[in-house]
Structures are given as C-alpha cells and as structure tokens.
Amino acid sequence: MPQLPPSWQHVGRHELFPEAGHDDVARFDFLANLNGFLAGALAPKVRTAYEQEVKPAFEKDQGRAPNDRHEVRKAMAGNRTYQTWSALRRCSMEMRQQTGRRLVLGQIDSLLDKARRRNAEPGLELDPSVRQPRYAAAVDIHCMPGGYHGELTANDISAGANYDCGIFATTGGMLGCYNDGGGQAIARWLEREHPDFKPRRILDIGCTVGHNIVPLAQHFPGAEVIAVDTAAPVLRYGHARARSLGVDNITFRQASGEDLDYPDGHFDLITTSMFWHETSARALPRIMNEIHRLLAPGGLTIHLEQPQYHDGMDPYEQFIRDWDAFHNNEPFWSVMHSYHLGEMMRSAGFSDAEYFETGIRAWVDADIFPEAGKGEEDYGRSAQWTAFGAWKEAA
C-alpha cells in the first residue's frame, strides 16, 4: 500500500496562520492525495511511455538515443501519457494556488490586523528602495500569482500567508508541520556532527517566510540572526510568524543578497534553503561572492538544494526533474541544476579543501510523519536534498 499523506489538519498553526474551515482542509487533503497519485501512480507510466514508445521512435528516426534532457523533452511533448500527467500537474498547482489565496484573501482584514500588531515589535526592517530583482519579477515563481513580492493592499502579507499554508499540501507533509524540515535538518546535522560549533551571528539569504531559519534561531537562542529577502510581504509575514512562535532573535531585513552592508567576516553561519534555483546566472555568483566576503574565518556556509543533474544522470531523469523549470515557472531551475556546485563555490573564493557536499533528508515530526521522505519521489518537490557548502579556513 502506498503511504497516505497526513491530513492538512496537522499543519503547524501560529497566530498569523489563516483560519480554515472543514472544506478548506478537505481541499488541501484532496490536493495532497492528487499529488501523491500523480507521483506514485502516473509518473511511472510516463517513464514507461518513454521507454516503450518515445525512445524507440526517436532511435528509429535518429539512429541514436536522446543525448540530453532537451531532446527528451521535445520528443515527449506529443506523448499522450506525458500530456495527461503534465496537464494534471499544472492543474493541481493552479488549484493549490487558488485554494490558498481564496482562504487567505477571505480573511485578509483580520490577518492584516494581526500582522500590523506583531510588525510593531522589534526585528522587522523594510526598505522600500530595494528593487525586485529580475529573477524574482520576470514571472511569478512556481505559479504563485504576484510572486513573493506582489502587494494587493498596503502592508500586504497575503503572499506569505498563501505560500505558508499551501506547502504542506504540495509536499504531502514531507517537510513537517511547520514546513521547516530543511532548517530542522541543518540544526540536527550541526548538533550531531559539529556539537562545538556555536555561531554568534547567522545570516539566511532568500528567507521568504523564514520557515527554515526559525529552527536554527531556536537551536542557537544566543545568536543574532539576520534573515534577508527582497520581498516585503513575506518579510512582514515571516516576522509576525516567528514572533508569534516565540522566536525573537531574528531580524527580518528587506535587502538583496547581492549587496549587503555588513562588514567582512561578520557572520559565523550563512545559510540558504531551496534558494539558488530561484535566482539567475548573473545574481548567483554575486551572492556567492558576498557570502565568501561576509563569512568569518572558521565559519560555515551551508545550502540546501534539489539534487543536481550530473554526468551520468540518465537524460530522462534530468528531463523529469526539469519539469518545474518549463511548466511551473522556475526559469533558472534547469540551468542552476546543471552547475557544478564545487566550481560555483570555488569561483567565489572557497578552496577545494574547504568545500563539502552531502545528501540530507528533511527532519520531521516522527509522530505525525513516521515515513516522511521515504515515499514515492515527487520529482523536484521532494524532501531529499543536496547539502553543500564550506568551512572557511580559520585565520
């Protein structure tokens, strides 16, 4: 029997979390199950269609197998099984957005009110002069209308609330009830592997609603934590969310990771979670250079990303992981995932000796999610990541 996703009723609530009635929960439960069906029952049939129909036809025509994911994508475009799976996957994503937005916007006055009160507390620094980078504004990332930055009203938080309430359904609860399995995993990895590491200052870049930095702020309660993003609505929401969860050592700042006004070597720990694939070829090296500059000697930088495409990865596997790039508004995903991570960091000044790369799985609440991370992989959305980074040599 395939593993069933946990009901959305187990989602982690906090003061800013939208209040949901029976039907809202049922909609998210339907979506989580639909995604499970697409990943578990239909995706294997898409692979079979490739192996048995599309690939043989390509070979007959070209006298060779497809060389790369782009040839596979073009060959698959006309296949009925692939079309159906894709149409359902896109449909599911749009339904998820509508479900979350309708839920949030239906109670926007009360959410704005709660956010306004929390945002008056310390730890939120907005800067209206920060322009949205092209990589965040060219299209609405993962089909989230308005992206992370769109504002429907003054002091809007709806983008953050919509993002926060839907992740649980999109990932089938694989990131834990607070969708913080990534941050939890880093905290536990540090506790297990580097128990003596005690950062005084921590920086998280591209924090969105702060779901992955909150566990680190809780793990290092004495640390001063800075979480930056370019989008104000997610920062307002993330700040209010963290405060209502009792976390008060994070400052949410509106700033671009490409240009931060902290002195060299200011931070002992610099993190990103599922961030690089939402940047661009121009911004990525600039942000990485900033990380190298800002990291203190002896400090750690660690990043979680979906798995990279590597030499020897089957072109079909690359193609299916690439789906979100073309069809779920993730325009830098395909290129970013073909980068060599070690070289990416070497270009910013980290040496091969400093660099490391490992696999990491989301850490989630075992009572609700006994088998999290072990189910069918929903390509590009799973809770099994590449963790890479560097320990900067001590001076």
């Binding site: 339907f30 979506l31 896109r90 449909c91 339904m95 309708r102 299209v139």
Partner: protein
Amino acid sequence: MSQTGIDPTLAGAAKAKGKRPWFFDDPDVERVFNVTMALAMELAVTRQRLDALERLLEERGVLAQADLEQFRPQPEAEAQRQQWNRDYIARVLRVLIQSAQGRSAESEGVDQAMEAVMSELTRM
C-alpha cells in the same frame, strides 16, 4: 466585503505571470479537463463533509453508521431516489445524449444546418 476592496473570489483565482503551457493538442480540451478536476475536488470536499456529518451524528447517538449502511428506502423513496439518479446522469451527460440523438433514425432533421433552414425559409 473587505476594507481593502479586494474581491477574494476573483483575486483568489488570479493567473500567475508567465505564459501558461497547454499540454493537450487542443487547449479547449485541456480547459474542460481543468473544469472537470475542479469539480472532482469539490465533489471530494462534499463527500468529506458528508462523512464528517455522519460521524458526528453517530458520535452524538443520533444514528449509527450501520443504520446508514443498512438503510433500505421504502418503495416511494426508492422511486424518488432512482428518478434522481436518472435525472442526474442526464444532466451530467447531456452533451453525449445530444450528440447521440443526431445519429438516430427517429431524429430526422435534428442536425439540419441552420443555413440550410434559413435558405429554405427565405425561398419565395
């Protein structure tokens, strides 16, 4: 209505910036497919609501789940329920019924082109 002036119904249904891919050869087919999936979701929501209702009724001793499973409608109720089923199927499958009618012998002329009838009726 919200003080912000936001219409949650339409703003909730907003389109994401970026060209939407259509996977089926005919986008109209895919649009129908999307409507069908939305209906499937709302049907699931209704089933879940009914299930919650039944469980609450049982919890409060109003009825037992077994009562529901063993429910045998009396002849009058049975006829009404079966008629409901028949109407329901005809509503859902209207378009198929109407396409099939066009091909049956007794429905002579049901698919006559409007232009042909127009020209026939305008002939002096």
